[in-house]
């Protein structure tokens, strides 16, 4: 294909193609979406791998993420600094995992990290409560939240430690056929 783009070296594009689920064209399109968030911060020349990090507020204002109640957690999980400030690498990584071609195990891994609010590698009751409140916009009563959390842990916790580990989560995801289509953002 005629490479008329001057943003990346062909080696960089190769690397991106091998590390994400995007084709060349899609990578360039994603780059332009990234750049559109802050044209003055993002240079048009990435050949020297500049250290450009967009703050979370800009990422969270994208139309695909703006109304997602989990957008902060998503940005935090995929950003290297853990605060939601994303480089182009993180940006591409995020949309590659959230694309329709990523396999279920990979998505399940990242979904687990997203729902694990306190980053302790377990989804405990407080994580579940926060997830529920985000899902229902705090409109469930305390009682209902408590009952649902108990039921979830009952159903999914296999090792009876009162919280969900990654294996529990993955065992449950295997039985959820809709997971692949819901954990998916089109950009």
């Amino acid at each position: 294909m005629g490479n008329k783009q001057t943003i990346f070296t062909s080696q960089q594009l190769d690397a991106y193609q091998d590390c994400t689920y995007f084709t060349r064209k899609e990578i360039l399109r994603r780059f332009h979406r990234y750049r559109d968030l802050a044209p003055q911060l993002v240079p048009l020349d990435y050949k020297n791998q500049p250290e450009v990090r967009l703050p979370y507020e800009l990422i969270g204002s994208m139309p695909e993420l703006k109304d997602n109640p989990f957008r902060q957690r998503i940005a935090e999980v995929f950003s290297e600094d853990g605060e939601g400030n994303m480089t182009l690498d993180d940006f591409l990584d995020m949309f590659s995992v959230l694309s329709e071609m990523a396999p279920r195990d990979l998505k399940a891994f990242y979904a687990f990290k997203i729902y694990d609010f306190n980053n302790d590698d377990f989804i405990c009751k407080s994580d579940l409560e926060k997830t529920l409140n985000k899902l229902t916009r705090n409109e469930l009563t305390e009682d209902e939240v408590r009952m649902v959390c108990e039921k979830v842990i009952d159903e999914a916790d296999l090792d009876n430690d009162g919280r969900l580990s990654l294996e529990d989560f993955q065992n449950m995801i295997v039985r959820a056929p809709d997971f692949l289509s819901t954990f998916h953002i089109r950009i």
Binding site: A15, T23, D89, D90, L98, D105, L140, Q170, R175, A176
Partner: protein, 725 residues
Amino acid sequence: MELREFNNQVHPSPDYPSPYSSQHSLRLRTGPTQDTSAVQFDWSSPPEDAEDSNEPQNLRELPLHMSLKRAVWQVQKMKVPVVSSSWNIKRSKTFHRFCEVAKYILSYFVLWNRGIQRIGGHFGGGVRSYFLFLRFLVILNFLSSLLIAAFVLIPSIVFRSMKFNSTIALTVNLNGTESCLHYDPKPDALMVFYTYFLDLVSGTGFMEYSYLFYGYYNNSKIESNGFSYNIPLAYLLTAAFYFLFCLICMIIRMGGTARLVVVTGGGAVGGYSMLVFTGWDHGLQGDRTTKLKQNNLRHRLQVDLEEERLKKKAASLTLGQTVSLYALRVFLNLVVLILIGAAFYGIAEATQFSQSRKTTGFVGLLLQYLPSMVITASNFVVPLLCDKIALLEKYSPSTTVILALLRAVFLRLVSLGVLLYTLWEQITCKGEINSGNCEPCSYYYDQYKCWETRVGQEMYKLTLFDFLITITTLILVEFPRRIVVDHCSCKLTQWVGRQEFLVAPNVLALVYSQTVVWTGALFCPLLPFINTIKFIFFFYCKKITLFQNCQPATRNFRSTTSNFFFLLVLLFGWMLSSVVLLYSVSKIHPSYGCGPFRIYPAMWEVVPEAVKMLSSSSKEFLFYIGSQKCSIPLFIFSCVLLCYVNVLTSVHGKSVALLRSQCKLEQRDKQFLVRQIEELNATMQNLHREPQQPLRETEPFYHTSPQWNQYNNYAFDPNEDPNPY
């Protein structure tokens, strides 16, 4: 496994913190905190000896940050020094790139792919499954119409235009049936536009004697220059093959969804966790849709909790209350059955009435459409009443939904069956073909000079009416409703609210249309083609109304089990129409005056005659296949195969359950070991803190150094005698 044996040895007293019995333990344990993030993935280190083609895939699936992945990529790239293999790698890489680009381009060619993805993004999986089902039906109808066109329509057109001499061999005994031959539907050459329109809509007049209906096809057998084409045989075999083709397509599609249902164990288990973790659709955009989705989820959770509460309440009912509840349910079911029976009676009466009257003009048109109108009205009114009755029955919400669906399916398919039965009664004088009106021709000749065309006309009218009603509802009900709700903010309109796109009634409407098409395909060969166009219109109209007028449903349809359910209902419709096909092909005498089968006593007879004309070896072969010598062993073999596949399925299911319980057990083992370590640590620290404790009372154990960690000492043998002294 060692862990399990260990567990069996010391399991009876898990909270007995003897440091000596726990000397059995704790081999192979590297630490209490497992590498939870890497258990499921065995690629925490990039595979050094991976195939070249696996490298790109593996990198993508690594759950690492992009910068780390790129570093790994650099390292891998640098590990390719040999010149000859680099060409291989490059070739495989270009091949993979090509595959990706090809897949990307092909996705554009899949019919309506982008549109359906957009619908899924905005309205969720249930609505998306409706449009996927519609697309499947469009493609099915299109392929069927190609099939029919290729084997029946085009040869007929070609032969008719070339004016071959049709060889009508009147070898049948025409004793007394000469009067049945008369059939002259040719319309007047000059027509008022008004009658033209009426004819178009009701399939009479100029439409009747056209390629649209059975009556126009000749029973010609063309033979010229060594090329022979038997149109009656082609007609029948095409119809049979069309049915088989549809069945195979449906079964293939059902197989795909059924596999998913079996693997995921029905999907009903783990409802709450499934809802919480996979309920949120991250592809949703827009403030309004996310608010609606959040309301939806809240509603579902509350409904589930409510169901639990109801179940608990139902379990705690006294005997008297249970009996009265069941009596109420039986009574209400009877009421529902009576309602449905009344609908059937209405349809039968309407059909009889419309078939026996012959008025022209607009009133005649209304009369002709009377059965369709009654069917549509009953399909609208009866489910509404059933919903109201279901409120009194006090079933749990999920049971109510399933029951309503079953009732609607029953109503739709059986009302079509009632229509067909009434037609049959009229045509064959209630089955007594040697009595009264059916005397000379074995069918009711006076009313039905060409009964196949009449049946085809009924199906044609049903299809058209269905299309008309949908478009009319769209224009006259849904758009005004949205306009009123959006612009008028009084309480009533807000309570009524925007239209909800209910998946189940829409899918049942599609199944009903498709069943009508299948039933009518033998008598109206162009019906699949008309249906293709109708369904394409439906797609665009429904899409427009969805985006303009509808809000997402508050009650959701689980998409995987519901896909299977839609196809199952479609299969029932297919079975109904195949019964009609088989009966009319084998039992009813074809019309004498029209159609390709006019000289045969039954449509099926054309096949034995054609077989007789085959060469003797093929004849023998066909007879052998049909004989008992071959068919019974074949039947037994297919039964055996079925049993084998069934057993395989159950074995797989059992092994899945076994593996799941094994998983659980291993987790518990891990837990137990971790607890043991912690207790051991605690006791060690206690002992260390109280050095005055006389060691002679306890067993002397020489491992006093606190740095010694049992779980690091791999030389420890669990079978070693703990009390060597």
